[in-house]
């Protein structure tokens, strides 16, 4: 299954590129989400809230 012949390096490099970019995107999205949530929590701790914050969001 993993004996990919004389062009194996091209195949592995392609998959490595996809893993790197997709992994990078997922990490960026997760970290960005956490950062925005942290900022919102900070503002809430200072008493700055949305008018609708009483409702479930």
């Amino acid at each position: 299954m993993f004996d990919l012949g004389p062009h194996a390096s091209f195949i592995w490099l392609s998959y490595a590129a996809v893993a790197l970019v997709v992994g990078g995107l997922i990490a960026w999205l997760m970290l960005d989400g956490r950062e925005q949530q942290r900022r919102l929590d900070e503002l809430a701790a200072r008493g700055v809230r949305r008018r609708s914050s009483g409702r479930k969001s």
Binding site: F2, F10, S14, V18, V22, L29, L40, V48
Partner: protein, 252 residues
């Protein structure tokens, strides 16, 4: 009766809905990609391309997404300019970096597939060049939005550029038909049905479906992040305004 897009026009409702949907879409994407790659690497090598055909399972879905994501951006831009849907700009903004990433992957994996098959990493032919222009268009959309401080103006101008840029999609799609190119013509979405052998086609369809769900999950997450970012900005502005009003009141 409200349509789904009307119901989700409320960002709070969208956050609830997307929060529930996200884990399921992510799991389905992982499952489909894993099954597709397993079947893809178990299938016999192509009679002409040998083992390099394994690159197809990531190159074709990336290239398909490069164009599909641009369609999402164009539809969202239309939704912003014509219907002023509250989430249209959030959707367009969130999709652009994802589209740029998948277009880059289509270019890189295509280039790595081209070297052993065509004897070169790159040729300036219609298909490769038009996809490169699409990549620059994605970068242009990001640069235009980042260059304008007024967010409303930035959204509108970016939407107009996105709608103008949709001309690239038929050019890319039909570039293999009207121009001389090393790139093979369409072999899946074509009149008369696919020309690929079933043992190679099935894993390709699975990974294509998996990549599409992967994008859907990443798009939902990016939209959720953007909604939070806008909430943070609105609250920060409200805080500054409140402090300013209090200062004025104290001075009086």
């Amino acid at each position: 009766m409200q349509t789904l897009t009307q119901r989700l026009a409320n960002p709070t409702r969208f956050m609830e809905f997307s929060g529930r949907l996200l884990p399921w879409i992510s799991a389905a994407a992982a499952l489909l990609i894993a099954c597709g790659l397993y079947l893809g690497f178990s299938a016999p090598p192509d009679y002409q391309q040998g083992e390099t055909v394994r690159i197809m399972y990531i190159h074709v879905p990336s290239a398909w997404l490069a164009m599909a994501i641009y369609s999402v951006i164009a539809i969202s831009s239309f939704g912003l300019l014509v219907f002023r849907h509250p989430l249209a700009d959030v959707s367009a903004k969130a999709a652009v970096p994802l589209g740029a990433a998948f277009t880059l992957l289509a270019l890189v994996t295509g280039s790595l597939w081209g070297r052993p098959m065509w004897g070169t990493y790159w040729v300036w032919d219609a298909r490769l060049t038009s996809v490169l222009i699409l990549f620059f268009l994605y970068l242009g959309l990001m640069a235009l939005r980042a260059s304008l401080e007024d967010e409303t103006l930035a959204s509108k101008l970016t939407a107009i550029l996105a709608l103008v840029g949709i001309v690239m999609l038929p050019i890319i799609k039909f570039s293999v038909d009207f121009a001389n190119t090393l790139h093979q013509p369409s072999s899946v979405l074509r009149v008369g049905g696919p020309t690929i052998e079933a043992s190679l086609l099935t894993p390709l369809l699975l990974t294509a479906a998996g990549f599409t769900l992967l994008f859907s999950a990443m798009h939902l997450k990016a939209m959720r992040n953007e909604i939070l970012r806008r909430r943070v900005k609105a609250l920060q502005l409200a805080e500054v305004e409140r402090a300013h009003t209090a200062q004025l009141a104290a001075a009086e």
